[in-house]
Symmetry: C2
Subunit: 547 residues, 2 copies
């Protein structure tokens, strides 16, 4: 009898499910569902305006997408529901929503539907950096070991988002039975069981295997209202990766066209799920997940105090390793910004004349440029900086413009800027004892933009393997499902059988690497000047903007 698993990858705007043969790795079907409300920045569905820096979602979209994609892959693949052993999801994070004691998201209820804090706060919801900074400070006062969270708390994380709810909507806070990471909420919906992924808590919950959550005394000193929040509104039950949360409830099994025998695996962070999918269950092989933003994920066998990364967590992705994460919050995002906001009309016309799409046309022009030929350099902080500096109030710059500067030169400089940003992160790992032996890239953009990958190889002066596993998030989730379903004993074993390891190598061009080394030196000088307090113009400009 064949055995099948379903993996679902929840992104910022849609979810994608696949159904996979758990023994052969064959992907039988794929189904995508867009979130109806997408991301709400400006107002709620009823028109209630949102404060600046809000980025919230409607959790009903998650449930709708879950049902549509799971029933979709079952229907397309014709797999017998009795053969579906397990289901797992990965989710963007920290995406936090409050639910009541019946497990209903508060925003589903009439009394909360016009309350912004009752919705799901997406990872890019940045309302409370001040609260995050206050937590960072208290952690120092309380001598909390900070290595596991990179030394600086982000407004994206769980504790600032919970505190923000208490501070700005006590009614929501009081009505909350549990604050759920959206991935865990999906699993709660599927099984009716309280759960908390070690991966979410280790990276976004200020929780560590060694020290648990922040002490109650610290939280109380921040705000008396936070007293006792751990163990009540924030569950302290932590589930291991590959762990089994429970089986589908009868009600949900019916909705999904599955049975109550299907088990549900612990959720993972979406950017981490590809690790077993592309066979990186080893140490020192850095995975670059290149999308709208970039994640840098790497395993190590030891805990290290590396400043300025997003953090590490033990047993959170590939037990028994410590998995480290760093991040650049803008990659494809800024290339798309460029296409939408800075690519002139004439380029669209010329692309059309040549029967090409504008991306292809632009990439061809940019590919013909040599490193340094444009005289441009850019800093890639279009969404601030998340690793090394961890400062949302930084902005991007383009330097070296002149009257002859061409759009393709700016486009290439923007790509080079992200590559230099990646090199800063790689150097930071190496300099702090986490030796990066290999680099593997995944994500749509890595496969679509060969010029970009060659630039990365040249800038990093290191060969880069680009995995051609197109659905690495959902496929990674499927692999975790096989472990939860008891088909393989652990993630590493499952990966050794199922990983998709085909792809393409990009080798550094020595001449280009030499020029890029010079440009990188310039980038670092500017990075330090603008990022480390010598000239805080970027922050002052934001203050003026907000005043």
């Amino acid at each position: 009898m064949d055995k099948f698993v379903i993996g679902i990858d929840f992104g910022s705007l849609s979810a994608r499910a696949i159904i996979v043969n758990a023994l052969t790795g064959e992907i039988l079907a794929e189904k995508i569902s867009e979130f109806k409300h997408q991301i709400m920045y400006d107002c709620l569905p009823d028109g209630t305006p949102l404060p600046d820096k809000f980025a919230i979602q409607h959790p009903k979209d998650y449930i709708d997408a879950l049902i549509e994609t799971v029933t979709g892959v079952l229907e397309i693949s014709k797999v017998d529901k009795n053969d579906v052993v397990a289901i797992a999801n990965d989710f963007t994070t920290c995406t936090l929503l409050p639910v009541d004691k019946d497990g209903t998201p508060l925003c589903f209820k009439d009394e909360f539907k016009n309350e912004p804090h009752a919705y799901a706060k997406l990872w890019k919801h940045h309302y409370s950096q001040d609260l995050a900074d206050a937590i960072t400070k208290k952690c120092k006062d309380f001598n909390i070991p900070s290595a596991s969270f990179g030394g600086k708390v982000s407004s994206e994380w769980l504790i600032p988002k919970v505190w923000e709810t208490l501070k700005y909507s006590k009614k929501t806070f009081d009505a909350t039975h549990l604050f759920y990471e959206a991935g865990d909420y999906i699993n709660y919906y599927l099984t009716g069981k309280e759960n908390h992924s070690v991966c979410f808590m280790g990276f976004k919950g200020l929780w560590s295997a060694e020290n648990g959550f922040l002490p109650n005394e610290l939280l109380t000193s921040l705000d008396k209202g936070l007293a006792g929040v751990i163990g009540s509104k924030i569950s302290n039950k932590i589930d291991p990766v590959g762990g089994c949360i429970g089986c589908l409830t009868e009600e949900v099994a019916k909705k999904l066209n599955l049975t109550t025998k299907t088990v549900v695996a612990t959720s993972l962070i979406d950017a981490h799920a590809p690790i077993p999918a592309i066979g990186l269950c080893e140490t020192g092989n850095l995975m670059l997940v290149l999308g709208t933003s970039t994640c840098h994920i790497v395993n190590s066998d030891k805990p290290l105090d590396i400043k300025g990364i997003c953090g590490y967590a033990k047993d959170s992705v590939v037990p028994p390793y410590y998995t480290y994460e760093a991040s650049q919050p803008s990659c494809g995002d800024q290339f798309q910004w460029f296409i939408d906001n800075a690519l002139p009309k004439s380029y669209f016309e010329k692309a059309t004349e040549q029967g090409k799409n504008v991306h292809t046309y632009l990439q061809e022009l940019a590919s013909n440029l040599k490193p340094g030929q444009s005289g441009l350099i850019s800093i890639d902080w279009f969404n601030g900086n998340r690793s090394i500096l961890n400062d949302a109030n930084l902005s991007a710059l383009i330097l070296g413009l002149n009257i002859n500067t061409k759009p393709e030169e700016i486009y290439r400089a923007l790509i080079e800027g992200t590559a230099f940003g990646t090199k800063m992160i790689v150097d930071n790992f190496n300099d702090n004892g986490l030796k990066i032996e290999k680099i593997t890239a995944t994500g749509g953009i890595a496969n679509k933009n060969a010029m970009m990958m060659q630039i990365y190889a040249d800038v990093l002066n290191k060969e880069i393997f680009v995995s051609d596993c197109a659905l690495s998030g959902a496929y990674g989730s499927a692999i975790y499902a096989t472990v939860a379903g008891g088909i393989y004993p652990d993630v590493t074993t499952a990966s050794s059988f199922l990983a998709k390891t085909t792809g393409k190598y990009y080798y550094p061009n020595k001449d280009n690497a030499k020029i890029y080394q010079k440009l990188y030196t310039e980038y670092k000088t500017l990075y330090n000047y603008f990022g480390k307090g010598e000239n805080d113009v970027m922050k002052r400009l934001i203050e003026i903007k907000n005043s």
Copy 2:
């Protein structure tokens, strides 16, 4: 009997003549002629490739334009040729061409037509900054007073261009009887008389009323080939402004449909000619000539040692004053760059939908922004910096970009960058004893872009009068012609009768001025950091580009 004069304004791409009633100031006709070869950057007419940083023109275009525009205004106005008392031109400068002993431009001759150095080197021909730097150094060694040329020799000027010809095309140098400023060459063509405008020589010839040209000993120490060049290939006959060079030759009078009674006035720098046209024959009233680039012209009654300006020259525009010039080499140039290279397709579409041209549409959007609202700041060195820093190897930057940055925000930041650059120059005058009492703007862009003029008033925190004299260059030339023709005794008197003094005032908005003061502080910090040696990244990027 009415008396008429003709003024011709030679720009970088075209010439424009007007015919004016010398007693009433009425402009009877206007005629423009585009230069057939425009500016040659890449190759000669026969395909001979040009080195990088060449910017040359074909002097036949000047003669063709002269004939077309002068005969044009005569034909349109029906003025009797016997009533045309005088003719004058103003010209972009230093635009230098070599002529043989018969007065024929060398590039007209078969043996030189494929020789780049035999053509007219336009002001923006920047081939030999190294030679200019060597001259600056020698001037220090020889204790040459440098105040009149702002302390630093530019590759745009006469002596570097002559030396460049000697160094890279000895054949051209040897065949040259006289090196002519193009404006003086026009006058030579008209009269057959050797001439040299005090305005050209004072600002671009390293000549001063007090000290004459650079000493032969200095020139010889640069290059033995330059021995004796002053007084031979570079005429040391200097003509005063408003002076009479001579009458039209018979041959030329015939071609122009004029008579040999028409006198020809000394030529002026195109950016200086508007001074009497708009009534600025006083001291301390700064004229901003806003076009593709910006000139800052102001009279003073004393010589001052002001570092970093283009220079000053006595009796060069309005005797007996010292006229000072500073310059920003990119103004409209970079706004046009933005439209051509960075304005997205969607903006053209929306402009069309609304039945507007794209400039109007963009200005409307940018007008709705408040100072500081974009969080952007730009440095305006798209063509390098010509005043204060006098460094062609600087480049522009845009800082403060984020994923939500809109094109109109960048456009406004580019305009603000040029305004900050102007404030640097105004502050430099004031700080060095040349008190700027009033500011008057002229040039097409000043009348077309009200938002820009309001930004300038707010940034400078000073009222700005925008002259609506549309043809101020040609009209200024016409005024000089009235003096040469003996209608008025001097420029100031002529201007007092003829100046066009209507226009519009822009008053600073105090709230905006306060925000701009903060942004200007940021601009200055970046200006000094990148421009004064703390971080020479811009120069190193150009080195890498050229290597």
